[in-house]
């Protein structure tokens, strides 16, 4: 497609430019119109060769390349080097050491534990988030205007609460001394699972309770995004379809699985993949909930990687090996995400 916004190069900007005669070594332009400023000639050259989009992309690409893409490649390189404190300070040169960082990591039971924690966490949290989000989205579509605004405002506030704040709030809610969760559970009747043994229960000191807190925290922060997306998707479904199903005697369950779900399948696929990527790679919340007390056996893959790299003695090479594994896992899921997005027509 020919772009038109360069049709009259320089008409508005040439006023201040010095009007120089053509230099001898001008680019091999076919028509050398005399009396053009160098800026005008540059504009013509850009237009003739279709350079404009590339020029516009240069600054953003340079920044992304320098600070995002290159570090991703570096992680791969460092994972084959003995990068430690002596190397970063320049005291010793870095050496290529083959796969020994990887063998070290793969023989570490803590690595496998952290990988398992990340996997199980994603397997639990992703469906929960999608179910809660979809239910709230469906609820929002059925509520009156005022109530819907109230509920969506509440959801917006949960979604907008920074990860650090959400984490310290949930750490406080589940604190053994004075936390409201332990107090409520200890007051609940036994048939609801409550009882005095909950008083002073410590949530952060073993894996299962800590990740139960994290599950609730993550569902709380991420369900609003799902709800709003599902709600937006529901608005695209023609109301005649739901009407027809109702006339045919379909209940809400049937009409969800026969109409809503098939219509919103692409949206759900994107939400599913995004949630997997976010929950598998979650860092800030487990850092504050589990790592602040310093429980190594509660690390997920991201925390394991981070602490391998940065706790003394720093082992950036070993950390990079884990980081590379983490990155590859997320990239594989991302490919699925990209394919799903492309099918939805995002590239147009």
């Amino acid at each position: 497609m020919v772009n038109t916004d360069k049709r009259r190069p320089g008409t508005s900007s040439s006023a201040g430019a010095a009007s120089k005669p053509l230099p001898v070594d001008a680019p091999r332009g076919r028509v050398r119109t005399p009396g053009l400023t160098s800026r005008q000639r540059a504009a013509i050259w850009i237009r003739r060769h279709g350079i404009a989009p590339y020029l516009l992309l240069v600054p953003a690409t340079a920044v992304i390349g320098w600070l995002v893409l290159w570090p991703a490649i570096q992680i791969g390189l460092f994972s084959f080097q003995n990068y430690g404190l002596a190397q970063i300070s320049g005291a010793l040169p870095t050496q290529w050491i083959g796969f020994s960082n990887y063998t070290q990591v793969l023989h570490d039971p803590e690595f496998w534990l952290s990988l398992r924690i990340s996997l199980v966490f994603a397997v639990v949290v992703v469906p929960l988030t999608l179910i809660v989000g979809t239910l709230v989205g469906l609820l929002l579509s059925r509520l009156g205007k005022k109530m819907a605004t109230f509920v969506s405002t509440a959801a917006l506030l949960a979604w907008g609460t920074p990860a650090v704040s959400g984490s310290v709030i949930f750490a406080w809610l589940t604190d053994p001394d004075g936390g409201i969760v332990d107090w409520t559970l200890s007051k609940l009747p036994t048939w609801l699972g409550g009882g005095p043994h909950w008083a002073g229960f410590s949530w952060e000191n073993s894996v299962l309770p800590a990740y139960t807190v994290l599950t609730v925290l993550l569902v709380w922060t991420s369900y609003p995004f799902v709800a709003v997306t599902v709600l937006a998707g529901l608005r695209t479904i023609p109301s005649e379809l739901a009407e027809a199903a109702r006339v045919d005697g379909a209940g809400p369950w049937t009409s969800f699985w026969k109409i809503t779900y098939p219509m919103l399948k692409p949206v759900f696929l994107v939400l599913l993949l995004l949630s997997i990527i976010w929950d598998f790679g979650v860092f800030t919340q487990p850092f504050i909930i589990t790592a602040a007390p310093g429980n190594r056996d509660e690390f997920n893959l991201g925390l394991y990687e981070y602490f391998r790299a940065f706790t003394q003695p720093a082992a950036y090479g070993v950390g990079s090996a884990v980081a590379f594994i983490l990155t590859i896992i997320l990239l594989v899921i991302s490919v699925g995400y990209v394919r799903a997005s492309v099918k939805q027509g995002v590239l147009r």
Binding site: D5, V63, L67, L139, T161, I169
Partner: protein, 300 residues
């Protein structure tokens, strides 16, 4: 549900149907109320705790509303008696880093979005796919390489380093969202302006920019929230010198450094000071944000 048959049925059924309908409505509203309260509870509890004196915070029977509200927790974290510098220093750091990185990423994203939204060129599709994938790279992985790269450049323990990283990591999403807005500006407008003798620069200032600016607002909000909330890079780059802390580090500091156990009153006060501006901002721009969020979510 039974309401489905109501309009077709005889009189009696219709009355029963309308009763069922209002019951259904009441149940839905009840569910809505429950969802909203459960969702709001953590934030409300944070605010309420921030105003409680220690005796009430660790009381055996917690009260939702402070019986003897106090500003002592706020005074404690505002003064900086524990962390070294007062709260305003961290607010200033956070705002400086956030505003500068948003300006940088918005400018760069605007140029890139015009390229991707208004032109067709050879590597366009590949570039778009690259942007989608780059968004997914885990920050806690890249932070190792950036830490090593920034050390010789003196960008560690410096707000400049954070600005660069925040601008770079906000770019992929910002470009992607802005591109959708750039693509929706009708080409006829540009053509008409060009026929009237407007140059590239005029077309940009008079036509593209005004029409893209709502998108620019939405993407700036995204970049702002991202930079204001960011934790991993700040944690890693900003060293023992607490005076360079951003607000997330300020909040986290109180969790690790209680003089006598964990001082939840101070943490909740710090967290309130950090969170409430964001939430207030969200409420103000709610309508615009909802549409922008949906546009970003559904369009990609």
């Amino acid at each position: 549900m039974t309401t489905a048959h109501a309009p077709a049925g005889p009189r009696g059924t219709r009355r029963a149907g309308s009763a069922a309908k209002s019951l259904r409505k009441a149940l839905l509203n009840l569910a809505g109320l429950l969802v909203a309260l459960v969702t709001l509870f953590p934030v409300l509890w944070m605010i309420s705790t921030a105003f409680k004196p220690p005796t009430e915070i660790y009381s055996l029977t917690p009260h939702p509303i402070p019986l003897h509200p106090t500003l002592a927790n706020f005074a404690h974290v505002l003064s900086g008696s524990e962390i070294g510098t007062p709260y305003w220093n961290f607010l200033k750091n956070s705002l400086f880093v956030t505003v500068v990185s948003v300006i940088i990423s918005s400018l760069l994203a605007l140029l890139a979005a015009i390229a991707l939204g208004r032109f067709r060129f050879r590597f366009r599709t590949i570039y778009l796919i690259m942007l989608l994938i780059v968004q997914m790279l885990p920050q806690q992985a890249l932070v190792i390489a950036l830490f090593i790269d920034f050390r010789p450049l003196n960008l560690l323990d410096s707000l400049t380093g954070l600005i660069l990283v925040y601008a770079a990591f906000a770019l992929p999403v910002t470009i992607w969202m802005l591109r959708n807005f750039a693509a929706t500006v009708p080409r006829e407008l540009e053509d008409a302006a060009a026929i009237d003798g407007a140059g590239a620069w005029t077309v940009f200032w008079r036509i593209l920019l005004p029409l893209i600016s709502p998108g620019l607002v939405a993407t700036s909000v995204f970049a702002f929230i991202f930079a204001y909330n960011e934790f991993v890079f700040a944690l890693t780059f900003i060293g023992p010198d607490t005076s360079k802390f951003t607000l997330p580090l300020f909040v986290q500091y109180f969790q690790g450094h209680g003089s006598t156990g964990t001082d939840w009153g101070a943490i909740m006060a710090a967290s309130t000071l950090f969170t409430i501006p964001v939430l207030a901002f969200f409420l103000i721009i709610q309508r615009r944000l909802a549409s922008g969020l949906v546009a970003g979510a559904v369009k990609g």
